[in-house]
Amino acid sequence: MERQKIPIILKIKQMVIIIVAGLIVIWFLTPLVLITISAFALPEDYYQIEKVIPTHFTINQFKILFFELEAWRAILTSIKVAGLTMLFSFVIGLPAGYALSRYIFPGKNFLKLLCLATRMFPLMVLAIPLLIIFMKIGVSDTIWGVALAHTAMVLPMIILISSSIISSISVDYEEAAMIFGLSRIQAFFRITLQLALPGLAASAIFAFIISWNEVFVATILTLTNRTLPAHILKTAMASPDYYKFTAGFIMAVPALVFIFFVRKHLVTMWGISLK
């Protein structure tokens, strides 16, 4: 009797797993699928109440959104800002990450705490004063301003993540390189950096995406030079529905593509950065 019981229980377990997994997939993927459909749907089809799923598709609204509504400029701005953010945060943050990982020094814990605190702090409170400061320096409403603000957001995370990645690469490799003829800095660049590259690249892309998605600070700091999310916030809601969906789709796609490439590092990175 025992022997007959076990396969049945297993089968039920399997079915439950499949059902739950299926529900999860539906829950998470449906909105994405739907907006993709809507982004490409012909407006007439959209406005026909009876048609649940549009049958005609077009890339027309993409064209219009891009060119007539100047979305391409916003996209470009977003790319520039995100790129700058990535650059700044790494140039400033990577050395600090190395210091945290490889050295023991007084004040180390304080600095770590500082990074964590900055991460948890509502940086939107900085948006207003930053605007004033930027206006004084003359970088308000420029990509530089937004990038600088975004870097402040992303910096602590980059420091902690790169510190963790570098720690995972044994010091022995650097020391061996130092014995065999390299200086410390050379050993870092030729050995550690090469080994850390996949993880660091993933976190760089991560920084890019955070900047790409950021809407609050970007909206406040820009007037004419808007990033895509800021642009959408200010214009899309006033335009017809189908443009909204196209815009939403455009925002989502690059991020999704990037994430697909770094998916292996996802859990580790978010886990670390949010601890």
Partner: protein
């Protein structure tokens, strides 16, 4: 750890950290002080609580506070529970769990703007939900979720959207901590004859507690800053604290009030963090005794 801890290389780590410190001082520290300054400066330019008084007299402020809190109280616990269940499910490592993991992680890459638009796509009058219901004859005319006077309906759409968008954030943290629980504990429990429930209550739950608490804290702090989803789906019909910061600055050009709103958000966050830390630390000390 290389420790050139004596001699000339003593200053190296500090040098490496210097850019960070300068940057943070300039772009976080200084603006922070400035924000404080603006919030406490009256129109006339003198130090005063004038802005705060104006704020408390404005009914919108109280509405914004109420709404933000409401969102928080409803969304955050739901998220944490949902995320925990998802994490437990994925952690059981069934066949194909990696794929499910990636799918759950997708919203991590999306901004609240995208999420809001996706919700709009579904719930708007010509959206998929209405079309779907009408094609099955369940309703005759479309149900309106957005628009003036429909803020209670929009509220729930926002809750749903946030649930969809932000649960993966908590999920990832919890999964990471679940994965760190050594299998040995469970194997020992099996040897001692623990049931699944017992294993959960005596091993899983206690060991994930710290992670749960920090996830709760983080989500709470972020929930106070809710902006994009609400603004896109309901404009100012549902005022929220962050939205008011934006409104005051962008539309009314009132830097003082905007900064004051921002300050209040920051203050609340600091207080909450403080309470959490003190609460947690106290517990830890008790455990150590």
């Amino acid at each position: 750890m290389i420790s050139f801890s004596r001699g000339e290389k003593n200053w190296m780590p500090y040098l490496l950290f210097l850019p960070v410190l300068i940057y943070l001082a300039g772009f976080v520290g200084y603006p922070l002080i400035k924000a404080l300054g603006i919030a406490f400066t009256s129109e006339a330019g003198k130090l005063s609580f004038e802005n705060f008084i104006t704020l408390t007299r404005d009914s919108t402020f109280w509405k914004a506070l109420k709404n933000t809190l409401l969102f928080l109280i409803i969304i955050v616990p739901l998220q944490v529970i949902l995320a925990f269940l998802l994490a437990l499910f994925v952690n059981s490592r069934f066949k194909g769990y990696m794929t499910i993991l990636y799918i759950i992680s997708i919203p991590l890459a999306l901004s609240d703007v995208s999420a809001a638009l996706m919700s709009y796509n579904i719930f708007t009058s010509h959206g998929f939900l209405n079309k779907f219901l009408m094609s099955f004859g369940i309703i005759e005319t479309p149900i309106y979720f957005f628009g003036l006077g429909l803020s209670s309906r929009a509220f729930w759409v926002i809750v749903l959207t946030e649930l969809w968008r932000a649960t993966p954030l908590v999920f990832v943290i919890l999964l990471a901590s679940l994965q760190m629980i050594s299998k040995d504990y469970f194997e020992a429990a099996d040897v001692f004859g623990f049931s699944s429930w017992q294993k959960f209550f005596y091993i899983t739950l206690p060991l994930t507690m710290p992670s749960l608490q920090s996830a709760l804290l983080i989500r709470t702090l972020f929930a106070f800053q809710i902006f994009g989803v609400v603004w896109l789906l309901s404009g100012r019909d549902i005022p929220i604290l962050a939205g008011e910061v934006y409104y005051q600055q962008a539309e009314l050009n009132n830097f003082q009030l905007a900064a004051t709103y921002g300050f209040i958000i920051a203050l609340i966050c600091i207080i909450i963090s403080w309470v959490y830390i003190t609460f947690l630390k106290a517990k830890h000390l008790e455990l150590k005794k």
